[in-house]
């Protein structure tokens, strides 16, 4: 089934492209949402990702073992390129958080209570550099060396960005926790 889709896409068959789109669109948009600053950016990356998927399929005749993983990889690369293209923009817009060392808490327990949208908000609110490193390292499973090559930064920068990302997220989690505690107390 998937191999036929691949063949169809390589022949620039619009029906195959549409089938591939409907098969992978939810997953692709999921990846895009994690990397994008806003929903509009996610939609842009989403469109760009599918264009790249189709053109990459046409360019290569290599056998694709796992189409899921391949599509995901192309999408991630598209998101990174998007970051590179809009570097100035994103750098200028990055918000400098004033953060302090997070308190030791049972974050696993707290995270498990958060909805997917809340978790996504945690990631989305990260500065772009932190967000990219966090996504690539934590979710995609890239090493710091690979991230350094992809983002054209040093390994040290990648590590520090990851650390910074986690601290920022914990800070936000603390804030969520505090707000929710205060609201409960107020109601009580």
């Amino acid at each position: 089934m998937k191999q036929e889709l691949i063949k169809g896409c390589r022949k620039n068959n619009r029906k195959s492209q549409e089938s591939l789109y409907h098969l992978y669109a939810p997953k692709v948009i999921g990846v895009c949402r994690r990397y994008a600053i806003a929903r509009e950016d996610a939609d842009d990356i989403f469109q760009e990702a599918f264009i790249n998927i189709y053109s990459s399929l046409k360019k290569t005749n290599d056998e694709i073992q796992s189409l899921d993983a391949w599509v995901r990889r192309v999408t991630v690369n598209t998101a990174i390129n998007y970051y590179h293209k809009h570097k100035k923009y994103t750098d200028n817009l990055s918000i400098e958080y004033v953060y302090e060392e997070s308190h030791n808490q049972d974050y696993e327990n707290i995270l498990s209570k958060l909805s997917m949208q809340e978790l996504l908000k945690l990631i989305s609110d990260l500065p772009i550099g932190c967000k990219l490193v966090f996504n690539l390292y934590t979710i995609e499973g890239y090493s710091h060396k690979e991230i350094a090559e992809k983002l054209n930064v040093s390994e040290g920068t990648s590590k520090s960005q990851l650390s910074r990302a986690k601290n920022l997220m914990k800070l936000r989690i603390n804030h969520f926790n505090k707000v929710s505690y205060e609201s409960i107390a107020r109601r009580g």
Partner: protein, 593 residues
């Protein structure tokens, strides 16, 4: 350690939750994607179609110009050497009755093959006249009667027939075979002083063979000196004519200068080259033949004398003289008729003489060429198309997309006028330098978002910090820029034979200075400052074309700039490349003193 473990758990939680997370794609996601794919396909198709059209136009134009030059040549009937030789031999055998004139006749036809078309037609016509004349006269009985009344002559006729048979056989083979064979058996056509081409001359034609006819040696006398002198004169006229024509052709073929060749120069093709080479081979073989034949002249003479006798030749001369007058009344060009009866040995002797004359002519030509100036001028006008490579770089706005980046637009078509001088370093290499005025145009549509937000919202103010949401409106801008430059260019040309035609590859370095510019914007505030100086390199192929007898050069080219057209203050930097086609008029100037 516990902290590291905690960090891993923190990360793993996100990984587990997000690794296969799916979200709802945009509702109109596929429609938008479909439109983009269509646009991309259309863009590709447009470019393929445009490229194909351009290629077709260039090919068509090339063929048109080349064909126009070749029209006259194509009208000329093609000459198949073997068929021509065999066919004419057969005809001669039937009409001229074993005449050895076939041999010289064929040789003459071969020579005609190297002539230019006008001469060819003329000679072809004369050839027909000659054959007709031979046919009319072939039944003349006086010679045969005389031969029949003389036992010696009958004996000579017998040997003559043997020779003729040999000649007939050999002349049906190709020319080179003939020439080889002729070392043993040789036939020469002859005509008398009046240039008559009748069959009366046929028996008189000089025959020689290695058949032993010692008895005839004593009877052999030299051919009437006057005849020889006349024939030499006639031969000289014809061979000079042939050589001159050939020389002209060869000079044109050898010429590497457009200016040296006339309008029809480009009409000489590989076919002609083969003919020229063929001719060289024949001339070489003819020279050998000439040298070998000298020792056999006695046999030639004795056979001829045995058949006709001295008095008979004078009788024939008188008869021919009368026939000549008759032909003149009919408007025949007797001098030209003679050419088809040209005695081979004499013709070849003359060819050597003419070679010397040709050498002299070449020397004169060379002197003329030496006197020609190495300088020439070229006036050219061209149209160019600007392919853009754009790098958005302005900090004040964020270009989100280049909406028509190399889509075809007449807004990208510019033009140029140039004037350059050339100096010929060698036959094939020239250097050039000149000035030009260039108008570059580019049309671009882009979407952008200003980096200075239209509005901002501060949210989540906490003791630790705050967040800011910014709001910006995306807009679209269409820009039509025109920029004028004056500049200098220096480069070189090298002539090569590409696709059977002399063409010049050229490369120019260009330095352009901005003189004026215009920018039409939909949105104000976007800056398109130009760089004052722009450098580029231009490469192309210069093709000489003949447009209604007027020599011009058409040069498609590619130009690659070194620097951006716009500077750092502009919305974007633009390099890209340009393709264009130039139409130029070469002008020859000056003479060496």
């Amino acid at each position: 350690m516990s902290r590291s473990l905690e960090e891993d758990k923190f990360g793993n939680h996100f990984r587990d939750r997000f690794e296969s997370w799916e979200d709802v794609p945009p509702a109109d996601g596929w429609e938008k994607l479909n439109q983009r794919l269509d646009a991309k396909d259309n863009f590709n198709k447009r470019w393929y179609a445009l490229s194909a059209l351009l290629l077709l136009l260039l090919t068509g134009a090339g063929y048109y110009f080349i064909d126009a030059s070749f029209t006259d040549l194509e009208k000329k009937p093609k000459i198949d050497f073997t068929d021509e030789v065999a066919g004419n031999n057969q005809q001669s055998n039937e009409e001229v009755n074993n005449s050895e004139s076939q041999f010289s006749h064929n040789r003459t036809i071969d020579s005609a093959a190297y002539l230019t078309d006008s001469n060819y037609r003329e000679i072809n016509s004369q050839k027909s006249q000659f054959v007709d004349t031979q046919s009319q006269k072939s039944n003349e009985a006086s010679v045969n009667d005389r031969i029949a009344n003389s036992p010696e002559k009958a004996q000579a006729l017998s040997s003559y027939n043997q020779v003729s048979k040999s000649l007939s056989f050999s002349s049906k083979t190709n020319v080179s075979d003939e020439l080889t064979e002729s070392k043993k058996v040789r036939g020469n056509s002859s005509d008398d002083s009046t240039g008559n081409t009748s069959s009366e001359v046929v028996p008189k034609k000089e025959q020689f063979t290695d058949v032993d006819e010692e008895g005839m040696v004593q009877q052999a006398t030299s051919i009437n000196e006057r005849d020889i002198t006349d024939r030499k004169d006639n031969d000289k006229i014809i061979m000079t004519k042939l050589e001159n024509d050939d020389n002209r052709v060869n000079r044109i073929y050898d010429s590497n200068d457009y200016f040296k060749s006339d309008v029809n120069d480009t009409s000489y093709t590989e076919e002609d080259t083969i003919k020229f080479k063929h001719k060289e081979v024949i001339n070489r073989q003819s020279s050998d033949l000439y040298n070998d034949s000298t020792s056999e002249t006695i046999l030639l003479n004795k056979t001829n004398s045995a058949i006709l006798g001295i008095n008979d030749t004078s009788h024939l001369r008188t008869a021919n003289s009368e026939e000549s007058k008759s032909n003149e009344q009919q408007g025949y060009r007797l001098e030209d008729k003679k050419s088809f009866l040209t005695n081979d040995s004499l013709a070849l002797e003359k060819s050597i003489t003419n070679e010397e004359q040709t050498k002299e002519e070449y020397q004169v030509e060379d002197k003329k060429e030496e006197n020609e100036s190495n300088w020439s001028l070229l006036l050219a006008a061209d149209v160019n198309y600007n392919f853009k490579r754009i790098m958005p770089q302005n900090d004040l706005l964020y270009i989100s997309s280049l909406d028509n980046l190399n889509e075809f637009s007449m807004g990208n078509v510019g033009y140029e006028f140039s004037f350059s001088a050339r100096y010929k370093l060698s036959n094939r290499t020239s250097i050039s330098g000149g000035v030009s005025w260039l108008n570059l145009r580019d049309n671009i549509v882009y979407s952008y978002t200003p980096l200075i937000a239209d509005s901002a919202e501060v949210i989540n103010v906490t003791p630790e910090g705050f967040e800011v949401n910014t709001f910006m409106n995306a807009s679209q801008n269409e820009v039509q820029n025109s920029t004028q430059y004056v500049g200098i260019n220096i480069g070189f040309l090298h002539r090569l034979k590409l696709f059977s035609v002399d063409r010049s590859l050229f490369a120019d370095f260009r330095l352009m200075k901005l003189i004026s510019s215009q920018t039409n914007l939909n949105q104000s505030g976007h800056v398109f400052d130009r760089n004052i100086i722009m450098g580029s390199v231009q490469m192309g192929v210069e093709n000489p074309v003949n447009i209604h007898g007027f020599l011009m050069v058409v040069s498609p080219y590619l130009e690659l700039p070194f620097t951006s057209m716009y500077n750092d203050r502009a919305v974007y930097l633009m390099k890209g490349s340009r393709i264009g086609i130039s139409l130029g008029i070469p002008l020859k100037i000056g003479h060496k003193k």
